[in-house]
Amino acid sequence: MSDNSSLRTPSQRIAWAATVVVSTLVFIFLMAPILAIMPLSFSSGSYLTYPLPGFSLRWYDDFISSPRWMNSLKNSMIIGIASTLLSMVLGTTAALGLAQWKSRFKPLVLAFVLSPVVVPGVITAVGLYFFFAPIGLTGSYLGLILAHTALATPFVVITVGATLQSFDTNLARAAASLGASPLQAFRRVILPLILPGLASGALFAFATSFDEVVIVLFMAGPEQRTLPREMFSGIRENISPTITAAAVILTTISVILLATLEALRRRNERLKGSGG
């Protein structure tokens, strides 16, 4: 079944053709929104309809010259980077601990650590809103960074945990037997090998924060509005083509993150190789 040559009977060919056709339609469905919105951001007209009256970069210009949009991009970056750093510290140490910890309570602790991913965003947001308001953490960067860190850390624990699990401890022993001090072994053998895992964790964390909007809706003051939050208002009020420019910028960032992640994955797979 690994390729088409093993398809023998006519009915099998028809089934395969149907699979290909349906899948193609689904791929179109999946890609359509992204493909449809991109050209609109380069439109010279102010309506979000096709055909485009002409090409222009006015909406990008609008985005860049708008303090509101630029401020939201800056906020997304600040909150994203800060919560990535914080979740990397918390998540990596926790993954290291969990890798060594043996207890019958481990599944319970793991479920707790991962639960922020599963609990609906509104519930977390409402809880945080009630909890943070009396201590002055709503309408502050700190509050948003803490909340986004809580959402992002599970991804770090999962990715870094998987990396640690697949790390062959014999490699560290081999380094020691070849004369490397613990510090040398860490710097030259362990770190290079777990770095892709750490980087993937960081990317997931950043993407989580960068895409988050529900908590921001509840907790951000006008000063802390992020890019998705600004888009939310934009869509609610009236969709101007500037939003499409913002969307393309957001998508570009996503593509860069995805490409980096894929490159890391490939590198890792290549290193694991076949014979090792």
């Binding site: 062959d168 380094a175 070849l178 190789g273």
Partner: protein, 369 residues
């Protein structure tokens, strides 16, 4: 080549009263005393869980003995961390660093020792030449076959001229043909370079092929340390007799002991004369050990009274190319093997009654199993 077998060289490694336990209850290694001479190839042989790998790990510094001390060149090393022991090690799955090229892997021990660039380069290319892999220097481990990875691991463990090289079942992942080839290569390296090798395996034929001496481990105790031929010819107990080479076991009771020999009444009937190796005296139960190639089959009715002549029934015969085996029912042992010349198996019919005979010096009376 150093004649280590003629003049005992000074001990390079000495295990003295080593005990190891992980849980405080069960000893994985019980009172190990073992000297390893400079330049020798010693194999720690035993079934899994016998303590051989733990012993190796204690020597490498990855495990700490619970009691006792290990000396390397007469210096205690219990508190020396692995990276300062100057011991090369080849790991079970090679443990090549996947992010480094072959050349970088081999250069690793030199670069952590801050060797000069020129010297590093020279020694790495010499090592690559030695394993005939100059052309693959810039590949990564993942792109190599198992045998190639094995050679790189070997070169990496040797390139810094360690006092001692440890090998933990290094050939376990290879197929039979490649394994036999690598056995010869490792043996050759050992002879040309005059290095000391401590080798761990559970494969007795590998141990017999390669070693100067073999330490047979079982249940945390070294059962016997000796040259391969001595282990085969003069096992001190049933475990060693059974673990090294093919072996037939007959249970019996000692009737009389006379100097080096004894008479044993078999549990399945009949008496035989055997060498008394590990029996406490008359009346003790014993296990007799007879190698398949030391037994002759005598057709029924033929004349000649040997000292050890037992009736047997042919179960079947197995053709193995360079030789054949007859499986017989002898006394209480229904799987008694006798080695035959190829072709001789045609003359034996299943169900046929025959006699077997063997010399008393080829039959060892050992501890009961």
């Amino acid at each position: 080549m150093e004649a280590g077998t003629v003049m005992p060289a000074p001990a390079l490694v000495r295990f003295s009263g080593i005990q190891k336990t992980y849980d405080g209850e069960h000893l994985v290694v019980k009172n190990l005393d073992l000297d390893i001479r400079k330049g020798e190839f010693i194999t720690l042989l035993g079934p899994s869980g016998s303590g051989k790998t733990t012993t190796l790990m204690m020597l490498a510094g990855f495990e700490v003995p619970t009691h006792g001390e290990i000396y390397l060149s007469e210096r205690p090393i219990k508190n020396v961390p692995p990276h300062r022991r100057d011991i090369g090690m080849v790991f079970q799955n090679y443990a090549l660093f996947p992010h480094l090229t072959i050349a970088e892997n081999i250069a690793f021990p030199l670069s952590v020792r801050k060797s000069s660039k020129a010297e590093t380069q020279e020694r790495v290319s010499a090592a690559l030449r030695m394993i005939k892999m100059e052309s693959l220097a810039h590949r990564r481990p993942g792109q190599l076959s198992g045998g190639q990875q094995q050679r790189v691991a070997l070169a990496r463990a040797l390139v810094f001229n360690p006092q001692l090289v440890l090998m933990d079942e290094p050939l376990g992942a290879l197929d039979k043909r490649l394994r036999e080839q690598m056995q010869l290569e490792i043996k050759q390296l050992h002879e040309t370079m005059g290095i000391t090798i401590v080798y761990v395996t559970h494969d007795q034929s590998e141990a017999l092929t390669m070693s100067d001496r073999i330490a047979v481990f079982n249940d945390g105790i070294v059962q016997q340390i000796d040259r391969p031929d001595a282990l085969y010819e003069h096992p001190v107990n049933s475990f060693v007799a059974h673990f090294i080479g093919e072996n037939n076991v007959l249970a019996g009771t000692v009737e009389t002991v006379e100097r080096d020999y004894c008479r044993v009444a078999l549990a399945g009937g009949g008496t035989v004369a055997a060498r008394a190796i590990n029996v406490s005296g008359a009346g003790a139960s014993t296990s007799l050990s007879v190698r398949p190639e030391r037994v002759a089959i005598v057709p029924n009715g033929s004349s000649g009274e040997g000292p050890n002549r037992l009736p047997a029934r042919v179960q079947n015969t197995i053709y193995l190319g360079d030789h054949a085996l007859a499986v017989l029912d002898v006394a209480d042992n229904a799987e008694f093997m006798v080695k035959l010349q190829p072709g001789a198996h045609h003359s034996l019919k299943p169900g046929e009654s025959v006699f077997i005979t063997f010399r008393p010096e080829d039959c060892l009376a050992l501890d009961p199993v």
